[in-house]
Amino acid sequence: MRFNSYITAITCLMVAVGFAATCLVEELSPAFLVFAGAAAITSLAINVRVMMRPRTSVSAPAGTPAIKKAVEDGWRAVFNVMAALAFALFLADYYAISQTLAAAASRFLAILALIKLYDLRSTRDYVILFTIVFFQLIGAAASTVSPFFFAVLSAFVISAIWAMVVFNIKRDFEKSSPSEDIPAGIFGARFFLSTLAVAFGSLAITLALFFALPRMGVGLFEKKTLRTVKVSGFSEKVRLGELGPVKLDPTVVMRVEVPDGIRPLQTLYLRGAALDYYDGESWNRESGGKELLRKNDRGAFTSPSPMPAAVKTTGNIHPAVPDGPPAVPDGHPAGHTKAAAGEMVEYRIMLEPLETEVIFTPGLLPAWPTGWVEISGRFNYLWTDASDTLYLSSPPYSRIEYTVTVNQPALPAGKDGGRAVKDLSPYLALPPAVLDGPPEAGAIKELSLRITEGAGGDAEKAVAVESYLRTNYRYTLDPRKGAGKTPLDDFLFFTKEGYCEQYSTAMVILLRTAGIPARLVTGFSQGQWNGFGGYFLIRQQDAHSWVEAYIEGQPSRTAGWVRFDPTPAAGIITPFSPLPVSLYLDSLRWRWTRYVIGYSFSDQIRISRAIEAKASGLQALIKTTLNSVKDGWLAVRDGVLAILKPSNGQWRRTTALFFVLFAAAATVFLAAVKLRWKRGAKNPKTPWFYLDMLRILGQAGFKKKGPETPREFAQRCAVPEAMRLTEAYEGIRYGGVRPEEAEKAEIRRLIESLRKKNLRRPSGTECRPSGTSVPIG
């Protein structure tokens, strides 16, 4: 593969990365992207054709240097003019056309890259193109939250590393040998694989650094670029009959992570706003103004409801719950599988940018609906009102993440003063249509009485109404129009079919008629459970409404708002069931959003605490191990002492003997070490083969005498191999020669030959073994 081919491949890869990054910018229209893609492909095709021409260097147009320079200058001028035009276009785009920086800048960069693609002449041009691609990546980072960004970034890392290495080597080579062509052989498959390995290493380091880089949270220009989701499923004003179409909208509204990723047995409710005033057609909120909540010393908002006397132990809060919720008869399953009574459960909610400032608090059935204890998130203010609805200062224009700690089941709101319910009259008010229209009003009253007949307390009455509605009415998203004056009449007496709003409105009115304060609550029900990520995926279609009733406690119990849901299960569980693949992809998206996009200082604190806990565990383990070693040693010592100390006189003798033996052993050991050291020091640089030769000759009876030089010894022995080996030895030992591979092989051969030779012990003083009479000259 020729060098130019590498450049072509890298350029294609880089341009593709830049294009992918541009595609991630949400504000760009598909038409522009198609245009840019087509232009890039055309240009790349031209470039590939030019580069593949034989004997054409990337950086060398034909002609003499002067012509070459003039041509390059000309092209550069053309590029500069076009770049200036593109910049003017960018300014016009930003100030007059799109008026968004991300879109205008991305368009500008894409056009700039396209212009540069038609002007790739020198190395500098390539560097400029790659720099533009880098800025395209930054542009994408500034305007997207898509997990595909990571794929684009990975592709960029691979191609950028490849490009930088190749261009750097090219430049170094051209500097040292300007007239030569770089040998393409060095950029083979092995080189590419090494680059790939390096890129993966770089990505691993990138992730490690990403999580370690301190998040200051002092941003002046926080990102607010996500498009907001129009939440037609949820509003602070509910008009009966408007929700139906919404129940088919699969737009994701939020994700709710449950503790330990284990699905709770009961339905999850996400409480939004509570509405108290019904005018016969629609629900509104009338009661009271907003009240600002204060952050506690942990930086979290605390519930204005009386806090349980929390006992803090190792980070978990164990509230002292004097009483559970009011006794609610059967019909509701027992509490959360994980959450025993009084346990704090922490839900993590990732809310898409919605067009409402209301935020949602999770809870299960049966529970005190307003039983949240703490909310923490990246917002500075939180407001509440008399109906315990929670508001941000403004609708969030970016995805927000917050955690809600819920007391499961929660304490009642009205206990111990605190935010005691001052005035329950708004929750008992009946719409004029119900009060004034005699036939309907009478019918509703009668129905209410009929349902609650026989029920003892408020709680039992409420449960009776709930179960009546659940069993006697049909759930449909498309209720018929009946002969009733109002939608409520239609539902209760004529068509007897409807969806959550009809059910909950009916229950509120029936309860109010029975003298139980009640209100309608809007929010979302649990949605789709995603087992891959351990969270609930809440969509528009999961919009729901239910009822909260104020239940007076029995003498031993306390009073408070209790959640009831008269809608049959068919209305709560959405029929929509996505494919496992899409759930898995959504869990990836969730993780990306949760751990990358939403990664924050508090996450860092959590991680560091976890590490600290692990480290302290390790410390404790080391301590225990050391202690056990110490104990073991003490036991051994005591045992030895017990053996050695039978009596006083014997003790001394034994000790003396022990010390003498120990000293003798130490002396012998030290002497051995010294001897060994001396022997080692004698021939520090003697190569192995000479030692082998001496050993083999020694076994045959040729001993080297002390004052004899190696050469004299070899001559005395008169073995040709010994002579050759001695020469090699002299070269290495005294000449500082490093044997080449061939010489090493020769030495090995000589040693082998010497070993195989039948050397016989010399007779008398004659060294020369019989059978060898090679003269050494």
Binding site: A141, L153, M164, N168, V198, L203, I597
Partner: protein
Amino acid sequence: MNLRPTISAPLPWLTILAAKLFGKKNGKGKSQVKRPPFFVFPRTLEFTKEGKRFIAVLFLVGIAAINTGNNLLYLILAMLLSLIIISGVMSESTLRGLKAKRELPRHIYRGTPAKTRIVVENTKRLMPSYSFIVGEMRSPDAVIAETAYFLKLDGGRKAVKTVSYSFGKRGVVRLAGVYFKTAFPFGLFVKGRREPALEEMVVYPRVRPLRPEETKVPEAPSAGTNAARGKGAGTEIYGLRDYTFLDDARLIHWKASARTRRLVRKESERERERTVLVVFDNSGGGEAFEDEVEKAASIASHFIGTGFRVGLKTLSFEIAPGAGPGHLTRILKSLALVESARNEGRHSVHDGPPGVRVVYV
């Protein structure tokens, strides 16, 4: 009361201590020797132009990430930082395990480029080293050495490049060591590693072409009076002897060889009058001194090159006349080391031996 013993006993120690504490640091003797620095970084690092731009972009992205709190910008920031780390690791893997050896020519003349072989070995087993240069560490002896560039050197392999060294000083010159530098992998930083490779050599004075008046053979005081005795490189036949393989084939006396049927060579008489004594008055000093040394070396080289026996006489030493390249080496070596003898108290060398041509420098 006699206090003297108690006072005098610590005095020498006190004096030594005071001298150590308050004595001049730049005095003569040991303190003039420059101490090696306490700590030297094992690697050097320089930013390239691209590296500076990279760091500037890194800072910009960092500021943008902090200001916007955008985690994707943090991701890009982490990616840029990881590139720096990867760059450090890869450049280290290139520099580590490299060993260089220089093979200088036997005769080195001041100011004349000496072709030197740089032998580099990659002692790593597997990892190749990419795109690095080998150069000579800065020397106080005014050595200018070219750098040798190696594109790729596989693990366990050797490579050789020939570069030229230029020495700006005659005499004993010390080369401290070599350095390896690389901008690999990304060209953002140039990392360097020094390898001490101490080598001392004698640099001869420059031998320049002589001007015509300098090449003039001087008159001997008693030219032609004595006959030459003994063998030599003269023109007269001295005798014949058997040819050996060590002899120049041009010296074979073909007629005598044909006559005797064995190869016979002729031997010439020694030309006693073709002896030149270069008298170098090294009592001078200053800048002219080097020129004079060079002139002496050039004259000696010229005359030996044209077959003269050349001797050298200076105020400090004397070399008896001799011929051949070995003798020239001896003279050049002596001239490489010659120093001004201004302070030695001698006044003249201007008395050459009788019957020898004398060139005064």
